[in-house]
Symmetry: C2
Subunit: 350 residues, 2 copies
Amino acid sequence: MDLSERQLQILQAIINDYVENAEPVGSRSIAKKYDLGVSPATIRNEMSDLEEMGYLTHPHTSAGRVPSDKAYRLYVNNLMKKKNLSAKDKRLINERLAASRDEFDATIRHAAELLSEITHLTSFALTPATNEETISFIRLLPVDERTIILMIVGDSGNVTNTTMRLKVPYTQEGLDLLSKNMTVTYKGRTLDDVLKSHIIEDVGTDIAALNALEAGVMPGFLRTLEDMLNVNLYMEGMTNIFNLPEYSSIDRARDFMQLFAQKDWFTQKMLQRADGVVVTIGDENAKMKDCSLITATYHVDGKLVGKIGVIGPTRMKYDEVTSLMEYLTNNLSESFRLTDGDDKTERNNK
Amino acid sequence: MDLSERQLQILQAIINDYVENAEPVGSRSIAKKYDLGVSPATIRNEMSDLEEMGYLTHPHTSAGRVPSDKAYRLYVNNLMKKKNLSAKDKRLINERLAASRDEFDATIRHAAELLSEITHLTSFALTPATNEETISFIRLLPVDERTIILMIVGDSGNVTNTTMRLKVPYTQEGLDLLSKNMTVTYKGRTLDDVLKSHIIEDVGTDIAALNALEAGVMPGFLRTLEDMLNVNLYMEGMTNIFNLPEYSSIDRARDFMQLFAQKDWFTQKMLQRADGVVVTIGDENAKMKDCSLITATYHVDGKLVGKIGVIGPTRMKYDEVTSLMEYLTNNLSESFRLTDGDDKTERNNK
DNA sequence: ATTAGCACTCTGACCGAGTGAGTGCTAACA
DNA sequence: TGTTAGCACTCACTCGGTCAGAGTGCTAAT
């Protein structure tokens, strides 16, 4: 059941050729381009065997062979070698990321841009998930007679705030006291935890006015927590796929685009993927049957975890893309390691 | 040079028919469907005249006529009548907007969703421009030894904040004093004004440590102002156009999609458009030659101004879309009128 | 001024032949 | 027994030609 050395060589040759030219590859062209020391007839026989084993398919009798998902999987797992990035790409990455080093979200967006520029595919980046983030403090600030700001600060400096209009009047003292009480109650607990407990805990006071204020603030508090848990999705290079032959039919192009119309669904799917560089090919992506998806994770200060990814047809340069993503996520994680004396700013989401 | 009553009738009939069926319309079908009391031959003669005047075009000799941009312009300016929304659509709008009434950005996003759902076209919504917003107060808050939060609050409750890491240590008193000084210096001035002055004004203190703190904070302050000036763009229904015959060719579809790849450019273009319901047709949109674009403005508390819009082929139901947008923007402006006793929240951008 | 009639034009669908790429099989060969 | 040359066969694609249908533009009659 294992493949012979020669079969592997042939399979690799077919994959290389097909990835490059997007056209079914015949025995003759393999024999000519790759010096395997055998005739086209022999290659034909091997190809026939490979097809039987499910590594190749046949659009029609008189066409060449096309690698199957299974072939790409084999290639990704066993055959492909790490590629070195070109000096040009490395420079591009370093410069672009350094330029926006101070602005967290901008850096992440630039990472997605770089991915799509270099691979000519569609890419995305997610800001880090904050479920592990714990509450550092909560502050209520006055705006006008009826309007206040609720601000939640996480332990990594993540900030989210909501402006809310109260039905009842308030006092500065009330705000201060409630801020303090809420901070005491929730400090150190994760956002997830506080939100999921769903119990609006009594922050403990027996002043009637304060209880009224608390009741007015709570719905906004929960909404703010939810907001803080949301990650941002940046997509880039969606139109790149129009240049690829697999999307030359309107239907395919539409299907592809529609995947990203439901941003929330897509974000959830991506968040569920394992850490590190993960490749899923064709059928392995339930809903995105004829795409391949490569994701990788970066870290913020060694803790928070965000994701970047590339989406394209199954026919893609897996070796180059995975190497690129490894380089890029390392670079990102490095950027986001908060060293002392650094004036990095803008670590706040939406 | 003016068009006769009959010519107007014929032109209107052609536009109706073409907008409905997306196919060149011939004299015979006009004569049959619209009871104008004349024969196809007469209509042919009029059509020929209309073509000479630039209101119609001819894909080829033996095809029917197609309205030109000029014809649509005439239609929009003089011919079309306001349409009443269906009860179903009204209900849909009211329900959907009411559901997210508390969350500012969500409401705006829903407005864009509604637009694309009802029109089956591509739509967008912009959060209000904040150049007129004035600074209400500025607050600096501690996170850890080196990290602080800078928060700017506008007079309409708009909040933007940045987490920044300082090179130098700070004290609570320092933060409080600087907050107070900055507020005094900038209160009441517009964001634009403060940002454009570009002079980092001395907020007035002679304590050395405070000056150092001020210097550390200023770059972040400017960046926060910039951030606060940014508007958010929500796009919806981009894939709707795949169902339209004018985008059945990949090239057209790609061109359309690429318009929105440069979000910043698009946002700027949209912000430049006049207030109220504005229709631009085909050539009138320099870069979007074969699209029509309809935008409308909504108000927040009668002051801040945001935009929503619909983009589609020149062949669109101008009457229905403009009526819909009028209804929708009225509804939005109404929602955003901050009445007393209302606990509307979440009036904060990015 | 309007209309009927008719010739003319152009598109799009359909058809059939020819071409070329590539396979699969068979028989010969090392 | 694995490899190879040779050859028949298959299938998609292209090209030219034909045909039907829709619609115009012109002319002559009303």
